[in-house]
């Protein structure tokens, strides 16, 4: 959740609009059209910026007209600038040999040494495979499940039952990761566990082939209710006249979902998918680390746990920064690709 939120705010920062960007972008053309629709047609140019005149006067005009909007986004811009962009100067650590006494920027420049070290490490292939498989499974399943749940909840007639189901499904979202993993462990304990008692005398967590499924199933179980809220909000905006019309045309319940509900939430799905793609390699550290044991290590070592072992346990801060930066770059590439695809397919995109 936090990951996608960060990506969202970074993206918002780049396009210089506040998180409610859809609204903002809608307001601008409306205002423009109101002032002079004729001129706009002729010149294909924003009326707030006269063709002639220096950049400064044009900027002045712009701010004079839209200062309220700028005022509104200022806090967000400051926040992102301070907490997302300013700390980025520390990234140079990935290209330097870190010397504690000289500080972050003091060590000698070594270029891509640490990136090469990571790519040539015998662990590289295994780590990438694990990271990608765990995150893709989690992303795809974590994307589909809330949509299905939202469509189902939307079918419940009684508001009481609806509220009850919603509360029950999103309750696990508030349990902390440590507790969740402890619960998984207890559930899977052979002999006494809720599930473990039916599954032989060893814990499923010891089976490397089952690590990924256990991870994504529990992840989906924990967050499905919470993530479906946004779809439910989208569904609540469906015009009831559409349902009536469809019913008159003889549509059954399933067809209502297929032809009315589903198209309504599709743009929301698109945006959320793009945002999720941005964190495709960001498998959360805590959960994987807590679920790790010597038996499943071959399929549970991911980039973040490896960074921890390298960076914190063995004090190689430059190396772990390089791995982290590599991770971020891959994520960024994924984000751009997903955005481009979405733009082409459904005309929904964030930049």
């Amino acid at each position: 959740m936090t990951q996608s939120a960060t990506v969202a705010s970074v993206a918002a920062g780049q396009t210089q609009v506040n998180p409610g960007m859809q609204d903002a972008t809608q307001i601008v053309p409306v205002a423009a059209a109101a002032t002079s629709s004729k001129r706009r047609k002729r010149r294909e140019r924003h009326p707030a910026m006269p063709k002639h005149g220096s950049l400064l006067t044009r900027l002045g005009e712009h701010f004079k007209r839209y200062w309220q909007l700028w005022l509104m986004v200022t806090p967000a811009i400051c926040f992102i600038g301070l907490f997302a962009y300013v700390p980025m100067y520390g990234v140079q650590l990935a290209f330097r040999d870190f010397v504690p006494s000289k500080g972050l920027t003091g060590g000698p420049w070594v270029g891509l040494k640490y990136f090469r070290q990571f790519l040539e490490s015998p662990m590289f292939g295994n780590i990438m495979k694990n990271t990608i498989s765990i995150s893709l499974w989690t992303m795809v399943m974590g994307f589909i499940a809330p949509i299905i749940l939202a469509l189902l909840i939307n079918q419940i007639g009684s508001t009481k039952v609806k509220g009850f189901v919603q509360t029950i499904t999103y309750m696990p979202h508030f349990i902390s990761t440590v507790v969740i993993v402890a619960m998984i462990n207890i559930f899977l304990t052979p002999g006494t566990g809720l599930l473990g008692r039916f599954l032989g005398d060893t814990s499923l967590l010891g089976n490397p082939n089952l690590f990924t499924p256990i991870y994504w199933v529990t992840e989906v179980w924990q967050h499905v209710g919470w993530n479906s809220i946004i779809y439910l909000a989208a569904l609540s905006s469906v015009d009831t006249a559409l349902y009536e019309a469809a019913k008159v045309d003889g549509a059954r319940r399933f067809q209502l979902i297929r032809y009315v509900d589903f198209p309504t939430i599709l743009p929301t799905c698109g945006i959320l998918l793009i945002l999720n793609m941005g964190s495709v390699l960001n498998v959360g550290f805590e959960k994987v680390f807590l679920m790790q044991n010597a038996l499943n290590l071959s399929s549970s070592e991911v980039i973040s746990t490896y960074t921890y072992k390298i960076g914190i346990v063995s004090n190689q801060f430059s190396y772990s920064t390089a791995i982290g930066l590599f991770n971020t770059l891959i994520n960024f590439v994924f984000l751009v690709i997903a955005n481009a695809i979405s733009k082409r397919v459904s005309e929904t995109s964030i930049f």
Binding site: M123, N185, D201, N293, A294, L295, L297, S298, Y319
Partner: protein, 369 residues
């Protein structure tokens, strides 16, 4: 290693001295209901799971000492990564036949149900739960631990189990015990003063005060007079409360993470933790006689330089990642014989040999004089 003496006495068994005898004792623990509650809930060997980063404290591979490889799993010793020294020669036990034997033995214990089948995935909380049990009925037959205080209310039932011989024919002189050296004495938890510090005189006064007898004792054990009572100027009695983990009002102390010095002239009474540790240690006097502190242990002051340390660490991550997974699988499912050659080859290819060479280099350099 600690074993339940009450159970041994009840079943009329002797303290085991070899691996075979230990297996027999553990089998008896499993089958003959030594805790007398009518249920087969005994955990013969309450083994800790193998850590994912290396050989941490209290792992079952202290059994390597039965075969003459001296381990030192506490502190920051390279034993954590498998490095050992024997007669001045550095090696890595991960590819030794001794390691193979221990793995085989642990697998045999697991096969017979003497180690819980899920031991390798069990969390520490589950291990502790079986160790301290409910405070009345013991559940653990044997553990690898720190002192009998690990068992809290049940500590009277347990005694330290002296280092075992692998087989009856192993010569006594081969058997050693984990010889971890005192890290606190040399490195951690001391005070450093920056050479650029202004008001050095004032700083030194604070440091002096910290290292005085009275303040040191308060740092280590707790406040005077709430936690420690002092009858005269050199005798101190520690409150029982300081050793009760279930108390809501623990003693305010930093214990061994303190910056101070307790002189030999001070007499401490009722220091239960140290007494228990000394008692546990006394079981290994015979085994320690076979250990030479520099020839059979990597001395704690041997430290590779920064570059080599980096190489060693990077190799280790790959080595341990592979070796620990393999080891865990072998203990669980067996098959060590079939996989062994390929395993050793793979370890060498990811840097194990290079690490051994580097450690040998630094060992030679530091122990020359």
């Amino acid at each position: 290693m600690f074993i339940n003496k009450t159970w041994l006495d009840k079943l009329g068994l002797k303290m085991p001295t070899t691996w075979d005898e230990l297996t027999k004792v553990l089998t008896a623990f499993k089958t003959q209901d030594p805790n007398g509650n009518g249920k087969a809930d005994e955990v013969p060997f309450n083994m800790r799971r193998i850590d994912t980063t290396g050989f941490s404290l209290w792992n079952p591979f202290v059994l390597l000492n039965s075969l003459g490889i001296t381990t030192s799993f506490a502190g920051t010793s390279p034993s954590f990564q498998g490095i050992y020294v024997k007669d001045g020669k550095v090696g890595n036990f991960l590819e030794s036949d001794e390691y193979k034997s221990v793995v085989k033995y642990l697998h045999s214990l697991m096969e017979q149900g003497l180690i819980p089948a899920d031991a390798l995935t069990r969390e520490d909380s589950a291990i502790t739960a079986d160790t301290v049990s409910d405070g009345k009925t013991a559940k653990s037959g044997m553990i690898v631990g720190w002192a009998t205080t690990d068992f809290e209310k049940l500590q009277d039932q347990y005694v330290a189990l002296p280092s075992l011989k692998a087989t009856a024919s192993t010569p006594d002189s081969e058997v050693t015990w984990d010889a971890s050296q005192d890290l606190t004495e040399l490195s951690n938890h001391a005070i450093a003063v920056s050479k650029n510090a202004p008001n050095k005189e004032a700083v030194y006064k604070v440091v002096n005060a910290l290292y005085s007898e009275k303040v040191s004792i308060q740092q280590y054990y707790g406040d005077i007079p709430e936690d420690v009572t002092s009858s005269d100027n050199s005798t101190y009695t520690v409150n029982d409360r300081c050793f009760d983990s279930s108390t809501k009002d623990p003693c305010k102390a930093t214990a061994d993470r303190f910056a101070g010095w307790i002189p030999d002239s001070a007499t401490i009474k009722n220091d239960k933790a140290s007494e228990a540790l000394r008692e546990a240690d006394s079981a290994y006097t015979k085994a320690f006689a076979n250990v030479d502190e520099t020839k059979d242990v990597m001395p704690i002051y041997v430290r590779p330089d920064v570059d080599d340390q980096t190489t060693i660490t990077n190799n280790n991550t790959a080595v341990l990642n592979y070796a620990l997974t393999k080891t865990a699988t072998w203990i669980q499912k067996g098959g060590v014989d079939a996989d062994w050659d390929a395993y050793v080859k793979k370890l060498d290819s990811v840097g194990l040999t290079q690490n051994v060479k580097l450690w040998q280099k630094y060992y030679d350099e530091y122990t020359k004089n």
